[in-house]
């Protein structure tokens, strides 16, 4: 786990992620400027750092209603503005980027931040970026597998010899600069289904598992499939960290949390995914066994501890800001995390 900069004795890590969406607040119908949104995200990371949160990550989406296409640039500003928090992408769409350039960016980010940078690599759920960046969507799977593999080779070897289908060959290539501690933690982003988790497991890569909602036990299958595949691939599952990522919102009561959060998620998903979030499913989100962490601080603590018991994961990452949530609500959530949720989670999951 040291390779991935995770100290088990400290217990479950708590992180925050943003997709970098730039959506109107559905309650007022108003949308802040792109400039303001990017500055808010940097400020959000600063507050998370000050609150003692472990991790902060920013997504890459090349489509309408998003503002952090150049997520590595935003992360550089965050690196400069923060002290201790780990910073990462969530995720970098490696399929449509050059792994050499991605590695150069994130190794630099690691140096700026004093060894705090990580990469989460994913495949994109929408595919507009393939046209934009000049790739064929028919190569969706292969582009990811080949480029992700190259990214990992660059991470593990200072001198790389490589040839593949989608990029010019590398002959005794040195990809510089090198990260502060020699290598970066590189995670594979996995949606809810086990197929991608199995690939991550075989390759012995840490898994970043994102989920929308549903019973905790459903995603346990993905976790199990990952660990089984790791074992079969000759890796020790105990050495491979798992992160889970999903909706989070804390308020005084679970009913208030639902009320505050629902319009943002429903309207935001309509715009970015073409379908809203059914109210019936959202109402189930406050159930102790539902994977969405929505409720009062005490209810959320119990949910996260239950998830930790089921998954045995090393990091939980909360998405709070989707769909134009006003900044003061994010501040309030960070405050609740810092004062109530984080201390309890650390207390119950740290191994002394």
């Amino acid at each position: 786990m040291e390779k991935y900069r995770i100290d088990r004795s400290k217990g479950l890590e708590f992180g925050i992620y943003t997709l970098g969406d730039h959506l109107p607040n559905p309650v007022t119908g108003e949308r802040i400027s792109e400039e303001q949104r990017i500055k808010d995200i940097i400020e959000y990371a600063k507050l998370a750092d000050q609150a003692g949160i472990d991790f902060f990550s920013v997504g890459e989406s090349h489509q309408e209603y998003f503002a952090t296409q150049a997520h590595a640039v935003v992360l550089a500003a965050i690196a400069q503005a923060t002290q201790n928090i780990k910073i990462a992408s969530s995720s970098t769409i490696i399929s449509t980027s050059d792994p050499v350039r991605v590695y150069e960016n994130f190794a630099t980010l690691d140096l700026i931040s004093g060894g705090r940078a990580e990469i989460v690599a994913g495949r994109a759920s929408r595919i507009g970026l393939f046209d934009l960046l000049g790739y064929n969507v028919r190569d969706y799977e292969e582009l990811f597998e080949e480029k992700f593999d190259l990214l990992r080779q660059i991470n593990e070897n200072e001198v790389v010899n490589w040839s593949g289908e989608f990029r010019a060959p590398l002959n005794d290539a040195r990809v510089l600069p090198r990260p502060k501690h020699g290598s970066l933690p590189i995670w594979r982003a996995v949606g809810g289904s086990p197929a991608s988790a199995i690939k991550a497991g075989y390759a012995g890569v840490p898994m970043y598992m994102a989920h929308l909602g549903g019973p905790v036990t459903v995603f346990k299958r993905t976790v199990d499939a990952y660990r089984e595949a790791a074992q079969r691939g000759g890796h020790n599952p105990d050495d491979l960290p798992i992160a889970t990522a999903g909706f989070f919102y804390a308020a005084e009561t679970s009913q208030q949390a639902l009320k505050d959060m629902y319009p943002h998620i429903n309207e935001g998903m309509k715009k970015t995914n073409g379908q809203g979030f059914p109210k019936q499913h959202f109402a189930q989100g406050i159930d102790p066994h539902n994977v969405m962490n929505i409720g009062s601080p005490q209810e959320i603590i119990e949910k996260i501890l239950y998830q930790h018991e089921v998954y045995g994961h090393q990091r939980y990452i909360a998405q709070i800001d989707f769909g134009g949530v006003p900044f003061e609500r994010l501040q309030r959530n960070i405050e609740l995390i810092a004062t109530e949720i984080l201390p309890a989670i650390r207390k119950y999951t740290a191994k002394n």
Binding site: Q255, G274, Q275
Partner: protein, 189 residues
């Protein structure tokens, strides 16, 4: 209420003739409701390649978006080779898995033989059910002999089309009302 009448074939005239009758009925009886007719013969729709429907362009995007925005959909389909036509199946394939959640879907079938009667029952309804539609159970089945040169000549078919329009609107209003009441009273958010 936003009603879409989808004529699912690019071949022949009977399904379109029947859909014209449905649309006329809806517009006369329910002038306050919005009714949009999509005849796939008027559009160039791409084959589904698995992308999110928002990522298509042109006619494909228009057709998918119009269906997604509907509260009620009346599907008209002929029977080809003992099944629904590929053009109609392609529309289903373009949409997300839960595309018909909170939508009412009703059916009108034209066929060359009465032996095709159960095809909607056995092949179309399971698709609609999978896609979470609230299905109007009774569909209108129209045979070749009910038409004469782009006119429906069987009064019984006209009456059944009137009832189909009425059932579709009634069921949509009912579900919408119940859902609103439930959401306000029970969920409280």
């Amino acid at each position: 209420m936003n009603i879409v009448a989808l004529s699912g074939s690019i071949v022949g005239s009977k399904t379109r003739t029947a859909m014209n009758a449905v649309v006329k009925e809806l517009k006369e009886k329910y002038p306050e409701e919005k009714v949009t007719l999509i005849d796939l013969a008027d559009f160039k729709v791409e084959f589904s390649d698995g992308r999110n429907y928002l990522d298509y362009q042109g006619d494909t995007k228009y057709v998918a978006q119009t269906i997604m925005d509907a509260d009620a959909i009346i599907i008209g389909t002929p029977i080809f080779q003992a099944s629904i036509p590929a053009t109609l199946k392609n529309i289903f394939d373009l949409l997300p898995v839960n595309a018909f959640r909170d939508k009412v879907v009703s059916m009108l079938v034209t066929a060359g033989s009465s032996k095709h009667y159960l095809i909607a029952e056995n092949q179309l309804k399971p698709i609609l059910g999978y896609m979470k539609a609230q299905i109007v159970q009774t569909f209108v089945f129209i045979e070749e002999s009910d038409f004469y040169r782009k006119e429906i000549t069987n009064d019984d078919v006209i009456f059944r089309i009137q009832r189909l329009a009425e059932d579709t609107v009634l069921l949509t209003r009912t579900y919408t009302k119940i859902r609103e009441e439930k959401e306000e009273a029970e969920y409280g958010f």
